[in-house]
């Protein structure tokens, strides 16, 4: 016999789902009034994708809650109710933490998995090296060794990513435990899904932060990044070898040119700075010389003036003696004339 309440929920869910789908479809349509504008890209719009993914997870959870645990009258076994709310059909929501590495790390994993699959489908079976390094020889020795190194790096990277995801999952589990502990606090009352959701976010972020600041996480994080980089580096090396065979400039070559150019720019600026410093030194030396000359001149004028006074005084006594030559020449430097010294 049909359960009218459940039928109602099911109908409502269907209606809500249709509404959601319509909303996302319409959101991706070109703006009204510009029928010729290209449709918004379904992929590649980072904000849109992230926004929709986050909203969809929450929306699905509310729907599941309506159909399940929350659509019942409050029970004394709230822990079981909590399990219903955050487990089973609400799995996408429960894995929200797991999704944090989807944007970056998952891209890597997919790429490598497809790399491995391609190798297998091409009749190579497992990539050489995935079962451990084996000796290589002959004309293709280097390529075989590279393939082995890449396969080993892929395996190491997948293991490191799995270790990281394990810690993320632990944060998820501990988040739920913290949520339960918070709900068990005396006087705590939650009367809406949004209130429960916000409390779950607080509890989960706390659990995550504690794990993320642990030495274990730091090591796992570093290993994940380092192994991913190792894979990428080996892939780049193989790609570059192919490019070299095809006569296509490689990134290493362009990068090397960039490095030389930047070195030249630095040297040029440094030499300019040195030249300016040399000019400045030259100007400073000339200034010092000029200052010395001015001092000498001033001293000379002072001496000449003194000499003139002396001469005047003597003239008063011996009026027939001629005045000193130097005293008549303002630019002459006293004491430099051999005749005068005589």
């Amino acid at each position: 016999m049909a359960d009218p309440a459940n039928d109602f929920i099911r109908d409502y869910q269907t209606l809500a789902q249709q509404s959601w789908d319509a909303w996302t479809r319409q959101f991706q349509q070109p703006p009204a009034g510009n029928p010729f504008a290209p449709p918004a890209p379904a992929v590649g719009n980072d904000t849109l994708e992230r926004t929709l993914a986050g909203l969809k997870g929450y929306f699905d959870w509310m729907q599941a809650a309506a159909a399940g645990g929350a659509a019942q009258q409050p029970t004394s076994d709230w822990r079981q109710q909590l399990q219903q709310l955050f487990g089973g059909a609400s799995q996408p929501f429960a894995q929200a933490f797991g999704a944090i590495d989807s944007a970056g790390a998952e891209g890597f994993v997919r790429q490598w998995q497809s790399w491995l699959q391609t190798a297998r489908h091409s009749g190579f079976g497992d990539l050489p090296g995935t079962q451990g390094p084996t000796p290589a020889f002959g004309l293709n020795r280097e390529q075989q060794m590279q393939q082995q190194a890449l396969a080993a790096a892929l395996m190491a990277s997948m293991q490191a990513t799995a270790r990281y995801q394990e810690l993320i999952q632990r944060a998820n589990t501990q988040g739920m435990q913290r949520l339960q502990a918070r709900l068990a606090e005396p006087g705590r009352q939650i009367d809406s899904l949004k209130g429960l959701y916000d409390l779950w976010v607080d509890a989960s972020e706390e659990a995550y932060a504690e794990i993320a600041l642990s030495d274990e996480f730091r090591e796992a994080y570093g290993e994940m990044v380092n192994t991913q980089m190792r894979v990428r580096q080996l892939q780049q090396r193989q790609t570059e070898q192919l490019c070299q065979q095809l006569g296509v400039p490689t990134r290493s070559e362009v990068s090397s040119l960039g490095e030389r150019l930047q070195t030249l720019r630095r040297e040029f600026r440094a030499s300019q700075a040195d030249a300016s410093a040399d000019h400045a030194d030259g100007i400073m030396a000339l200034r010092r010389e000029l200052a010395a000359l001015k001092r000498q001149l001033a001293d000379g004028q002072a001496a000449a003036s003194a000499a003139r006074k002396t001469t005047s005084a003597k003239s008063a006594v011996v009026p027939k003696k001629a005045p000193a030559k130097a005293a008549r020449k303002p630019n002459a430097v006293p004491g430099t004339s051999p005749r005068k010294r005589k």
């Binding site: 992230r50 909203l55 929350a70 019942q72 909590l82 929200a96 429960l196």
Partner: protein, 355 residues
């Protein structure tokens, strides 16, 4: 025991209906909405080199400050956080206080910038920008306002070129990179940065943003957008939200070599406080900074923990050191209502007392 979960099924359905209604109402706004503009406070270009530009802000009140203020932003994200929107613009508020404001827009590095080092940025670009402003005003020294990583750059610059800086202000600036609550520093300490940069070249902005999101994954990847649904039927608030999204995700790649040095010397080596940092073979000694220093940090900063900034007081040489703790986060310190009321006036007052 009484159950803490008292969720009324009827209310659940009503919540879902509300959620749907808001989504539907917001659909039209979102589809037709254009890219939100920043505040774009009037400004003139006074210097450019490679991809960087130095802007001088004009208008908005009479300039009373005798010494100009040069804003040195981080290489991550763009400087427009300081001039985000008309009613949330630190630049505009500083102008209204009477400050004469310049800022450096570092631009968007590409492959040509792969080999730029911290020496190129600090003793090269930054020094030339400072010289341009000094020459325009006929001054020996100007005021610097360094923000986040730009604050670390400003500290290095002031220690290396003390004659060219009159007063130094640092905002949300990491100084001690090894405080126990520094998640970014914690994560990158086991990274092989040489392998990372040798492989990636320049570091893509998307990767940087992804790392920042994983500092608070649930809040930043999901809860924030659920909150957005509440404002979908409010065009003004929605525009503000989207403007912030634009700023967060429209960010530059990082020049590989500078990134390598910054991670190794600052995040991993913590050399700024250890006194072992060298920029362009010149030792950087914070103890040589004798200028007045105003250090502003955010108490709820998840990117630069408050203790990472507070450490400056212990290492800087000046006897005129002021610390200002702001009740907010790393972004709120520029754009929150409280920030508009508190931060620019505090900066202006502090500078005026040291004019």
């Amino acid at each position: 025991m009484q159950t803490p979960l008292r969720i009324d099924p009827a209310k659940v359905l009503a919540d879902i209906a509300t959620f749907q209604r808001k989504l539907a109402a917001g659909m039209g706004y979102l589809r037709d909405m254009r890219e939100p503009e920043y505040a774009n406070t009037p400004r003139e270009l006074v210097y450019s080199e490679d991809k960087l530009k130095v802007w001088h802000f004009t208008g908005h009140g009479k300039t009373t400050a005798k010494v100009p203020l040069l804003i040195v932003y981080a290489l991550v994200n763009t400087v427009w956080m300081t001039d985000l929107q008309a009613d949330r613009s630190m630049v505009r508020n500083l102008l209204e206080q009477g400050e004469d404001v310049y800022l450096i827009d570092w631009g968007y590095p590409d492959g040509a910038d792969r080999w730029l080092t911290l020496d190129d940025y600090i003793n090269g670009y930054l020094d030339r920008c400072v010289d341009v402003v000094r020459e325009r005003h006929g001054l020996d020294a100007i005021n610097l306002l360094g923000i986040c990583q730009g604050g670390a750059f400003s500290l290095c610059y002031t220690a290396l070129h003390p004659d060219k800086v009159k007063n130094l202000i640092t905002m949300v600036t990491p100084v001690d990179f090894h405080t126990p609550d520094n998640m970014l520093s914690h994560w990158c300490r086991s990274m092989d940065v040489d392998l990372f940069v040798d492989t990636m070249g320049n570091i893509p902005a998307g990767l940087m943003n992804y790392v920042y999101l994983t500092l608070k994954p649930l809040r930043l990847n999901q809860q924030k957008y659920i909150g957005m649904v509440d404002i979908l039927d409010n065009p003004a608030e929605l525009e503000n939200f989207l403007r912030m999204e634009r700023w967060i995700f429209d960010s530059p790649d990082q020049a590989g070599e500078a990134f390598r040095q910054f991670i190794k010397d600052f995040y991993q080596g913590n050399k700024l406080v250890k006194g072992t940092l060298e920029i362009g073979s010149q030792p950087v000694d914070l103890g040589l900074i004798a200028q007045p220093v105003l250090n502003i940090f955010a108490e709820q900063d998840h990117l630069v923990p408050p203790d990472a900034s507070r450490a400056l007081g212990k290492h800087v040489g000046t006897t005129d050191y002021t610390q200002l703790a702001f009740k907010g986060g790393h972004i709120g310190i520029y754009v929150s209502g409280r920030a508009q009321r508190e931060v620019p006036p505090a900066i202006h007052q502090w500078l005026r007392q040291r004019a």
